[in-house]
Symmetry: C2
Subunit: 231 residues, 2 copies
Amino acid sequence: MEIQGLPGRVLDELGPAIASGEIPEGAVLRGEELEERFGVSRTVVREAVRVLEGMRLVASRRRVGITVQPKSLWDVFDPMVIRWRLAGSDRSAQLRSLGSLRVAVEPAAAALAATHASDDDRRELSSLAVDLTVTARAADLKTFLTHDIAFHSLVLRASGNEMFAHLGDTVAAVLTGRTEYHLMPHQPESYAIRLHREVAEAICAKDPAHAEQAMRTIVKGALDELNQQLG
Amino acid sequence: MEIQGLPGRVLDELGPAIASGEIPEGAVLRGEELEERFGVSRTVVREAVRVLEGMRLVASRRRVGITVQPKSLWDVFDPMVIRWRLAGSDRSAQLRSLGSLRVAVEPAAAALAATHASDDDRRELSSLAVDLTVTARAADLKTFLTHDIAFHSLVLRASGNEMFAHLGDTVAAVLTGRTEYHLMPHQPESYAIRLHREVAEAICAKDPAHAEQAMRTIVKGALDELNQQLG
DNA sequence: TCGCTTCAAAGGTATGACGTATTCAAGTGG
DNA sequence: CCACTTGAATACGTCATACCTTTGAAGCGA
């Protein structure tokens, strides 16, 4: 849960309902209705609605009520919105969007990391690449996922760009979702593993072009695979 | 103003103060203190704080107060946060981050637009490229900015990726900020203009590679220029 | 039919009361 | 002298109520 207390509980039910389209665009909710539905006071409902308003999921107007905004206005980069959509019926659309985003961002992040990463980051990256190889051979999907997330997050963080770094959690959500919904080959491909090591080596060798190219191959492969599985 | 009513007023003052670092990380505010400072009731303060909490700018804990979160936790993709940082002392850092993001995203968006754009989008894009040429010759900076924003927003939208599309407003803020703070050559360069036309033509000709390459040259040029001006 | 008035519905704000977690410190025992 | 317990102070959390403001829509009259 991201936000605490009763408003958090309301958000955890209302947010996914809206993000998944269960409550459609243009639907109108009344505050009193929500109070009854969740058995909480006006204060709590209002605070929850304010947060949703901050994400542009809803807008509140006098004499009308709380209306669900058209999707095009939603803050699709908000981590909560992303999580809610990944959990709901919009999952595949969200995964596609995130896939394209990864193809755009991660190669650039890898290139930047090759020039900006600290020595510690470079060492950690090499270490993670080895871990990936080992856990892949052992077919230990759970640990593999952990290391995969750590690897991609670290590259994003090492890029030195705060916005790229912030996408680490989102990428983590994508990778997790991919394994959870069995959208992944049961045995991690050795080719992908080799590419991860290539990325790590290129970043250690301060070779931006190579790091970018290898990372692009990784994320493009992931996107192709996704499109194949989703039809 | 993004959020209405008194909470919006509080946000418009508190948000920028936090985002600009005027109120530093780790600082602790008390609700009562904010009530007095803004002359509003608990209700209003609490709702404003909830929104800030949704952006991860602050966290509220019992017996402690409202503490400003470390920057690394902020939702740096939230449009409000971006605007606040662009308006404050963090402006140059924010512009750099956004510059790198553009280099990553816009070429990818251009490539996608070349294959996904509708015929209407393609026509509109050609038209905007012409408008850009004309207003650049006339040295009409204000109108030029309008068309420039329209051009880049349209490419992002035409990519068919909702997340890319959502970055349109952010790019608009960057372009606007660039002219406002005189970080732009007084007369738009003819080279950049030619590249814009190249992008439009490539998208119309359904040539993803060319569109991507031309757009990359544009945004890389913008980033170089920015780095030059900021030292 | 058009335009004005009036009314009521729904959110917006203020305030008082009470609940509750959390911290800090005093006190206690070893 | 240290560690643990205990209690009270503090600041947020929640509820309930009252009243204000806005605004859509019904109703009325010209």
